[in-house]
Symmetry: C2
């Protein structure tokens, strides 16, 4: 008997009819002879509606109370799904995060899971029940309700799967797997049967909205076999697994783009040690995540640093940069929101050289100007003008997938 | 510094604007130098909406899961009220039932409070915070969420007040106190400044919807000074207090009617010991509450028993009565829903005789036929035709209040 954790997102549980559909998917897995734990999100739109009510009470609502509020969204879904399962003749029981010991840090609205006490889930599974767990939420050491932030239900599912040593964690979404590129941009993009955690992570952090990157990190850390599969049909989906040597035979797994980053450029900085460190420490202290970083070679005693931040962090970043400009005596700070980042991802890069050259060659052929370049062991990212992003993805997809 | 528990019902917290109004009432009490605990219900309409969703999933939804579902209603209100209080500059913290140890029995949808661990509430009060507690809900010994049934928020408020040994428990409602009769029936009904627990209990159980009877029983048991007061203006309301000798100077405190009872009549029962006992034991086993009971004197070896049950229990009662009719060899069982019960309540009856005679005299003068009579130490109830109920209340009110 295998133990399967299933996760259904907001769209899949958007109304009672869809929740009944989810119940049937759950029962299918149960009837196949498996123990099943289901993690669900709030019904789509619900969380925004709850946040809207909070904003009617205050322009700056308490984060603890916001978490108290929005956590009701998942509580509604778990109850409805358990009712649906029982109605279809399968014993089920729903639990909030606090009821199954999903202990988190006390950072309201973006708490991190510390550990999960699986005792109660195991007991209910042993009683033959389907266990329905609220995603996205937990409890801190003082007994306050916390939430994990957007995409947190994926993380809950993977964390529960890791804690239970589940045989598989299936993430049900509105797409039927991970694609070589966004099918809306590249109509002939192909579904991948298998992808490594590292590759998925690069794609997830690059804006592929299939999985939240925190959930992939969790899956990688605890070696949870993860599967992305459709809520609406019965395809095989995409398995996200530990990297294996045969994966390196495939040069590239996917091409992703990210449109919500802003480039920050600080120029005319005195070229001395410790400058970069002081910039990025201050940004980290303000909880601002920095993506690409490039420092140009110093010239005439001055240097220049460029990096990208997510646009929702821009206001905060501007405050930090103002202070820094004065402190460092930099000549100029500028911001450019009109950019996109396009990345080519694949573990094959570790073995085969020439991927970077092929990327640059393809873009040159298409007269696309590269403004920043950043590479990792399995990824090459370029910053380009935003209006060229789709063209870039299409050109690179053609180069690596159709010509391959 | 006094400790005040305030309770606001669904209408008072019906939307963000009204919750802000509640916040102002709370702050008023806080600024008067008191420690304040606020108990709130779900926003009006919310509970029915949540139950409606459950019914869309199943005709017979699991009661445990229903409690999981509907308890989100209060969770939303406590968060909104805490956000509103903080926004107005007063530190506040919200708690669900399980977070402040409101331990109950495990009878889902009608759980009873067993005890309350006040540690966490006290800590927050000592930190100068207003404590906002979810009414209507608790947690059983296994950690499941339970609800107390309709009217349960009143009970939560009184139970919290009792556990904290609060100086007063104020129940805010949409009326400004307890009246000598329903002002919609008797326009010149008067607000009572003070009433005893016993009298309030008789009025509450007789359909006066100001307070739930369970909350009055709790207040009486733990001697909690209770006040019914309006959410919408600043009147003194009605104090519900321990009976004192001076109260007996007032003959009658109120006249109530109840329209939702059905009379059950079982006739032609062999007149032997144990018959009544077997009837009412079977009804109690089926969890059916019986109100008035009358057994007529046996005649020719046969007797007759009449009693009333609430109309929502009628189907269940009919099943029990069918079995009983066969077992007892009774000749006939009949049901009459076209009745009302009118009651005259007052501790003064303990001292002054003649109230019953005055009731019967007044009804005779008005040609109102009495079909059943039942009396307690402080109450006289009569069963009459439903279409005569308002006339009866008006006539008795005139007799006891205007002629007094």
């Amino acid at each position: 008997m295998a133990l399967i954790v299933q996760k259904f997102g907001g769209t899949s549980v958007g109304n009672p009819e869809r929740i009944k559909n989810v119940a049937r998917k759950v029962i299918q897995e149960k009837l196949a002879g498996n123990q099943v734990v289901v993690v669900v999100s709030a019904m789509s739109g619900q969380t925004d509606q709850l946040i809207g009510l909070c904003k009617q009470m205050s322009d700056n609502p308490s984060k603890r109370e916001m978490d108290m509020m929005v956590s009701t969204g998942e509580q509604v879904t778990i109850a409805l799904l358990a009712i649906g399962l029982i109605d279809l003749g399968h014993d089920a029981i729903s639990y909030n995060g606090w009821q199954v010991g999903i202990r988190t840090t006390d950072e309201y609205s973006k708490a991190k899971i510390l550990d999960i006490d699986t005792k109660r889930i195991r007991e209910s599974l042993d009683e033959g029940k389907v266990v329905v767990v609220a995603g996205f939420q937990g409890i801190d050491h003082k007994g306050n309700i916390t939430t994990l932030g957007r995409g947190g239900s994926d993380t809950t599912a993977v964390a529960v799967a890791a804690a239970l040593r589940a045989d598989r964690c299936d993430i049900y979404t509105d797409v039927d797997g991970v694609y070589t590129a966004d099918p809306r941009v590249v109509p002939d993009a192909k579904r991948l049967d298998k992808i490594s955690h590292d590759e998925m992570l690069e794609l997830a952090s690059m804006g592929s909205k299939v999985l939240h990157d925190r959930s992939v990190i969790f899956a990688m850390k605890y070696n949870v076999p993860l599967r992305v599969v459709s809520s609406f049909d019965d395809g095989p989906g995409t398995l996200i697994v530990k990297e294996s040597s045969e994966m390196e035979d495939v040069l590239i797994s996917g091409i992703a783009k990210k449109d919500n980053e802003v480039r920050v450029n600080i120029a005319g900085i005195p070229d001395k040690p410790g400058v970069a460190s002081s910039i990025f420490k201050k940004l980290a202290d303000a909880n601002i995540n920095v993506n690409m970083i490039i420092q140009s070679v110093g010239f005439e005693g001055e240097s220049q640093i460029s990096f990208t931040v997510i646009n929702t962090d821009l206001d905060e970043a501007k405050k930090v940069m103002e202070t820094l400009q004065a402190e460092l005596g930099a000549k100029n700070v500028s911001y450019d929101a009109d950019i996109s980042i396009v990345s080519v991802v694949g573990v094959g890069m570790k073995v085969y050289s020439g991927v970077a050259a092929a990327v640059f060659d393809e873009l040159a052929k298409n007269s696309i100007n590269i403004e920043m370049i950043s590479t990792s062991e399995i990824k090459i990212s370029v910053v380009i003008r935003k209006n060229l992003a789709e063209k870039t993805v299409q050109a690179l997809h053609k180069r690596f997938f159709l010509n391959a």
